[in-house]
């Protein structure tokens, strides 16, 4: 099929006053993007300084392994999350089979499990000394070296772990895309003789491509930035090498150079993602003339669909939660009680505030790019989104440096001018923490909003403007209702991500400010995994709250949409 591309109205048609408004908007967006890019730039600037020569040593010793592992990790996680995310999204949105409605939200559950936790859970269960292999040896009388058992603590093992917890990113975005697709287009494909699968592969899938690309890019960025899991599994990646160079050799500059190399890696991802979206403006998203009639599956196909959708939930959620529950019952966190409530409150509050802040910023920036399409805004967005692929510790230090510089400069200025100092205004406050989350998770908000905006045809804007609406009015009355689902999705993902976030929280937080993730880390890093299980379970439980809420909101949205459409 050919793409219908709607160009924005020629510039001459805009009234001068509006032009000024657009200019301000774009300037604001670029300013925001710059503020968000600051920590990343501070890392790149560090990398440009002459280093102590550790980088040469790294190239000679560990770099080849880093590259092989990083490429392998990306290939595995990319393919894995795409296949699981897209396949299950298609099944639950466009087919009907027993349990499909339930599975539709069960498939989101692994999102609430931190990657390092699923890693601990599976390692504990499958290690040589763990219950599975011990039982096997008990049954067979084998001892060490008598039998082969898959080694989970390896590249494929860590890739599997990350795939299991990251596929929901693809699933969420792909499902939203499929829900928004015009039934007419799919039905047209069917009347032209395509079967249900043909319609999927030749029409549905290509139309959802921007959303799928955005989801896979998020999953890959998260995989590249992961530290806890790869370190525990003994797999050398960019992240572990950055930590070793910086903490072990004390070479900050070589570590920053590695981080910059990682950024180059990510830029390749970004280019691929942009290529996947190029020129895709289908603009069929809002013209839903009729209810979507799902395909009722025959018993054999339905059984297959149930298994296909249940497996990711089983391995990504049920098994690790069962393993955690076993550990918890074995001897949970001694602090379970009022203290825990306090941790949970902190976690919830931070995640909620961050979700609002990050989604609002993401929507604003993505919106500016729609009003002023061009290389500058697009580039600004991409650079501001790159924080998602940078290990949290690197981001945190990248944040400490400009904040500290600002605080000390302000303090120096007030001392010189008024004779009293302000001290540290931002460093070590909740503001610094929220700034860290904004830098780290902006991509998560921009992705869904952008792909949502992509689906609203420019003719809508044009029609609304012809009817006398201001650009703001168009945003409020036309785009906002159409974007609600994308915004909710973005808020959900940011909330859960902040709940799980550890490295930046650990370093940037104020005094005596503990969250659930911090509590889990403290116990796990002390190798008290059984005690850490309690906090992990509470993280999962809190993560479920927004998953359930937002799933319900989206379901209501759909019902309303169907009412309007029919």
């Amino acid at each position: 099929m050919t793409d219908v591309v709607f160009e924005p109205a020629p510039r001459a048609a805009w009234r001068p006053a509006l032009l000024a408004g657009r200019g301000v908007l774009i300037a604001l967006a670029i300013g925001l993007a710059a503020l968000i890019s600051l920590p990343i730039l501070s890392v790149v600037l560090t990398a440009l300084q002459p280093s102590g020569g550790a980088i040469g040593h790294l190239i000679e010793t560990v770099l080849p392994e880093i590259l092989v592992n990083s490429v392998g990790l990306m290939a595995f996680v990319g393919v894995g999350t795409a296949v699981i995310g897209v396949g299950t999204a298609w099944l639950v949105t466009l087919c009907r089979f027993p349990g499909s409605r339930l599975l539709e939200w069960l498939l989101l559950l692994p999102l609430a499990i931190p990657a390092y936790i699923i890693g601990y859970a599976y390692t504990d269960a499958l290690a040589f000394a763990g219950p599975v292999q011990a039982a096997l040896r008990g049954l067979t009388g084998w001892s060490h070296g008598d039998y082969w058992f898959p080694d989970i603590q390896s590249l494929w093992g860590v890739s599997t772990m990350l795939t299991l917890v990251l596929y929901p990113y693809v699933y969420l975005l792909a499902r939203a895309a499929f829900l928004d697709q015009s039934v007419c287009v799919l039905e047209a494909a069917r009347t032209l003789g395509a079967g249900p699968w043909g319609a999927f592969f030749r029409v549905g899938l290509p139309m959802a491509r921007p959303a799928i690309a955005a989801g896979v890019a998020l999953a890959l960025m998260e995989a590249l930035a992961d530290f806890g899991t790869v370190e525990y599994f003994g797999v050398t990646t960019f992240t572990t090498a950055i930590y070793r160079t910086w903490f072990g050799m004390g070479d900050r500059i070589a570590a920053a150079q590695l981080a910059t190399a990682l950024l180059a890696f990510v830029l390749v991802l970004v280019v691929i993602e942009i290529a996947a979206r190029r020129g895709r403006r289908f603009g069929a998203g809002a013209r839903r003339h009729r209810r979507l009639v799902p395909l009722r599956l025959k018993p054999a196909a339905a059984a297959g669909a149930i298994i296909a959708c249940a497996l990711p939930v089983l391995f990504g959620f049920a098994v690790p939660v069962a393993a955690l529950a076993r550990l918890h019952l074995d001897g949970g966190d001694p602090l379970l009680g009022p203290r825990f409530l306090h941790y949970a409150q902190n976690s919830f509050l931070l995640a909620g505030l961050a979700a609002i802040l990050v989604v609002a910023t993401g929507a604003f920036v993505a919106y500016a790019a729609r009003l002023a399409p061009g290389t500058v805004t697009a580039g600004a967005i991409r650079i501001a989104s790159i924080g998602y692929a940078v290990p949290g510790t690197v981001i945190a230090v990248g944040i400490l440096v400009p904040l500290g510089a600002f605080d000390n400069a302000l303090d120096g200025w007030t001392r010189a001018t008024f004779g009293w100092g302000t001290g540290l205004v931002l460093s070590g406050t909740a503001v610094a923490l929220l700034y860290a989350y904004l830098v780290r998770f902006l991509a998560v908000a921009v992705g869904p909003v952008e792909s949502g905006l992509h689906k609203i045809p420019a003719t809508f804007d044009a029609a609304a403007r012809t009817l006398g609406a201001t650009p703001y009015g168009v945003a409020r009355r036309v785009h906002a209702p159409l974007l609600r689902r994308s915004l909710l999705t973005a808020a959900l993902v940011v909330f859960v991500d902040v709940l799980k976030e550890l490295p930046a929280t650990l370093i940037v937080r104020p005094f005596d400010f503990d969250t659930l993730a911090v509590r889990v880390y403290n116990l796990a890093s002390d190798e008290r995994l059984a005690q850490a299980s309690t906090g992990s379970l509470v993280i999962v439980a809190i993560g479920l709250i927004p998953v359930i809420l937002i799933t319900r909101m989206i379901a209501q949205e759909r019902k309303a949409g169907e009412r309007i459409a029919s």
Binding site: A54, H57, L58, T61, V62, T123, A127, F128, A129, A134, S143, H144, Q153, E231, Y232, F233, G234, T236, Y243, R244, W246, F247, G248, M249, G250, D251, R252, D330, G331, L335, T393, A396, V397, L400, V401, G404, A405, D407, N408, D411, G421, G423, L424, S427, G428, P503, L506, I507, R509, P510, F511, D512, F513, V518, Y521, N522, S525, D526, E527, R528
Partner: protein, 344 residues
């Protein structure tokens, strides 16, 4: 390390805790701690200190290097009064970066052995942990392995488990080998150890001990307090692990067993200087030392403080007298050597 009770330590400590409130009357009553320790049992330490002095302890707990970066970027306005690490390498790096100030304390100098503190008083070790060999009782004969050097002996091929070189305890251990033997021999040693790995390095110290108990390997290298944690446990599976393991203190015939420290120093820009000094001296009191030892199965740094039963059960040993600052300075070179040897 000998177990002779020194009354002076006890009396000095008691006098200090009694006198501290009077000393601090004019000060702000807070102490800001940047700490890499994260043990629940340390809370008793803070509570005791607050009870004795009226000073509230505020904490940020995180990994040492990022904490140092935070101090660095906060500059002269940094609220940190005291930096605490769980390894000599990190606290020495903080000293090199100019983040600490010297503290000339007679009490600390008299109580803490010289090898556990910076000669100029920038940092002091308050508890110690030995990096020992934990061997399978059934498969490794008494005396069959006696030194760190033996870990590279080809007769242990496929029998050794130890965690990644990313881990600072291994960097410090290799740093102490470096101090004893020089770069070339240390690299040959590291290659020999790698050749003896039963599996690629992964997991934590406890995982290495579990691997030996399960029969995956015969010799694990780990810090004493991890084994202490298992020894204190009431769980049957932990008891079963401890049953199968014998603790070997390496190099008793020559330089002694490598010992690392958990250390603290006063931040260069400390705003609550008196409180910081009082806190450091409090950490050397017998009461505080007992919290370290009994709470986390560590060895007290101050001689004469009794050991917890599970630790005392392993017996006395000779500790390597190498100053912690020396192997700490060797961290970076040690890691490069391990990289070249293929120690992941």
């Amino acid at each position: 390390m000998t177990l002779s009770p020194t009354r002076r330590a006890l009396l000095g400590g008691a006098a200090l805790v009694v006198a501290a409130p009077a000393l601090l009357r004019a000060q702000t009553r807070v102490l800001n701690l940047y700490s890499s320790r994260h043990y629940d049992t340390d809370e008793a330490l803070y509570a005791e200190f607050t009870k004795a002095t009226g000073i509230t302890v505020n904490r940020v707990e995180a990994q040492p290097d990022p904490l140092m970066e935070r101090m660095r970027s906060e500059g002269a306005n940094s609220p940190a009064d005291v930096l605490v690490t769980v390894d000599a390498g990190r606290i020495e790096r903080a000293r090199e970066a100019g983040l600490l100030q010297p503290f000339a304390s007679e009490a600390l100098a008299s109580r803490i052995p010289a090898s556990y503190r910076d000669p100029d008083g920038h940092w002091f070790g308050f508890s110690t942990r030995a990096r020992v060999l934990l061997v399978a009782k059934e498969r490794v004969a008494d005396g069959a392995i006696a030194t760190y050097e033996d870990l590279a002996d080809p007769k242990w091929k496929g029998k050794v488990v130890i965690r990644s070189s990313t881990n600072v305890y291994n960097q410090s251990l290799t740093g102490s080998i470096l101090a004893a033997h020089g770069a070339d021999k240390t690299e040959a040693w590291a290659k020999g150890v790698v050749a003896n790995f039963a599996r690629p390095p992964r997991g934590g110290d406890t995982d290495q001990i579990k691997a030996v108990a399960a029969g995956e390997a015969d010799i694990a290298v780990a810090n004493t307090y991890y084994f202490g944690g298992l020894a204190r446990s009431t769980k049957p599976e932990d008891k079963a692990i401890v049953e199968k393991i014998r603790v070997v203190f390496p190099n008793q015939g020559d330089r002694g067993t490598h010992v690392n420290i958990s250390a603290a120093g006063i931040a260069r820009h400390a705003k609550n200087l008196e409180a910081a000094r009082a806190y450091l001296e409090y950490l050397s009191t017998a009461a505080a030392q007992r919290y370290f030892a009994f709470g986390n199965s560590e060895y007290p740094a101050v001689t004469g403080v009794d050991w917890p039963p599970e630790v005392a059960a392993w017996g006395k040993f000779k500790a390597d007298g190498l100053n912690a600052g020396v192997f700490a300075k060797n961290n970076a070179e040690a890691l490069k050597i391990m990289d070249r040897a293929g120690w992941k």
